[in-house]
């Protein structure tokens, strides 16, 4: 069942280790920028909490806490399946790896579906202040700020997840061809880092928006 595992050396690198480390370091550098991108939103959320504590509590109680919690669990499971794909890629078990990758993509899609349902619920409950229509907390102006941050943060995270699932599907298709693990095993490793990090961001988003002092 096991295939040989390795990577193909690119022209401008001198060793495989160098190439592997470079890819990993490059991805970590990218993850730093992702973290700081979301950190700006967390900072906004914190400042709004400081300036309008009561309004934020009011707005937070209108968020769909249980959908958020379920979604966190879904992403934690997807983290597990991604880890599974990585460990199987290391031992060259391609068929198992592919199944885990598809499962990861499915869980990511499930997250997005739940998220879409949550947005729909928000819409039905008039929790979408920027659309022309009633806003249930219209009497409390400052609550809009927090709801705005909620939508921007979750949408930005959603964009990352959509990108992630798309790349994952392409990668799965590539990996389904023979000799993939022989040449490009580190693509799975590097992609896994990205997926884990999107999950990690959500693990911060969930408490920051839904849980803290709701």
């Amino acid at each position: 069942m096991a295939e040989p595992v390795g990577i193909m050396l690119a022209e401008h690198f001198s060793t495989v280790t160098q190439q592997r480390q470079a890819a990993k370091l490059g991805l970590w550098a990218w993850l730093i920028t992702e973290l700081l991108l979301f950190a700006g939103l967390f900072l906004c959320a914190l400042i709004i909490r400081i300036q309008h504590p009561a309004s934020v509590t009011l707005a937070a109680t209108h968020l769909k806490f249980w959908i958020g919690a379920a979604n966190t669990a879904v992403l934690i499971c997807s983290s597990f399946t991604m880890s599974g794909a990585i460990v199987l890629s290391r031992i060259g078990w391609r068929a198992g790896m592919l199944r885990f990758m598809l499962a990861t993509a499915a869980l990511g899609t499930l997250f997005l579906l739940l998220k879409g349902f949550e947005y729909y619920q928000d819409y039905v409950e008039h929790m979408v202040p920027f659309l022309s229509g009633p806003y249930v907390l219209a009497h409390d102006q400052a609550s809009r700020l927090f709801v705005d941050v909620y939508f921007i943060t979750t949408a930005l995270h959603g964009v990352h997840l959509i990108t992630g699932v798309s790349i994952l599907l392409v990668l799965t298709w590539q990996a389904s061809r023979p000799h993939f693990l022989t040449r490009h095993q580190n693509r799975i490793e590097v992609y896994g880092l990205y997926w884990h990090f999107i999950d990690l961001i959500w693990m911060i988003v969930f408490p920051v928006l839904y849980v803290l002092n709701r």
Binding site: M1, Q21, A39, A73, V87, G96, G192, H196, I204
Partner: protein, 96 residues
């Protein structure tokens, strides 16, 4: 699936499965705290639990424990910068 395959699968999936269990347990704590709000300033506990979850993902799922010092440095530098950003901004908002 052959018996040997299953044994291999269980062996390599041990750590991911333990991680999964730990993360779900921590999430359960946070959800329970968030749903019931048992005491004042419960956010301190919730923030601590979140920090644990983040640490587990970083250290175990993302293999920081087994990485070179360079990668470890790069994985922590972003969080350090976050402290700078939040700390310095709070010298404004907390003392206005």
């Amino acid at each position: 699936m052959a018996r040997g395959d299953l044994r291999v699968l269980l062996r390599v999936l041990r750590v991911p499965a333990l991680t999964l269990a730990a993360l779900l347990a921590l999430l359960a704590i946070n959800v329970a705290l968030g749903a019931t709000l048992p005491f004042r300033n419960v956010w301190i506990v919730e923030a601590g639990v979140t920090a644990c979850m983040v640490a587990i993902v970083l250290l175990v799922s993302m293999d920081i424990l087994e990485e070179t010092p360079l990668i470890r440095l790069f994985s922590s530098i972003g969080f350090f910068w976050l402290l700078i950003m939040f700390g310095m901004t709070l010298t404004d908002y907390a003392y206005r």
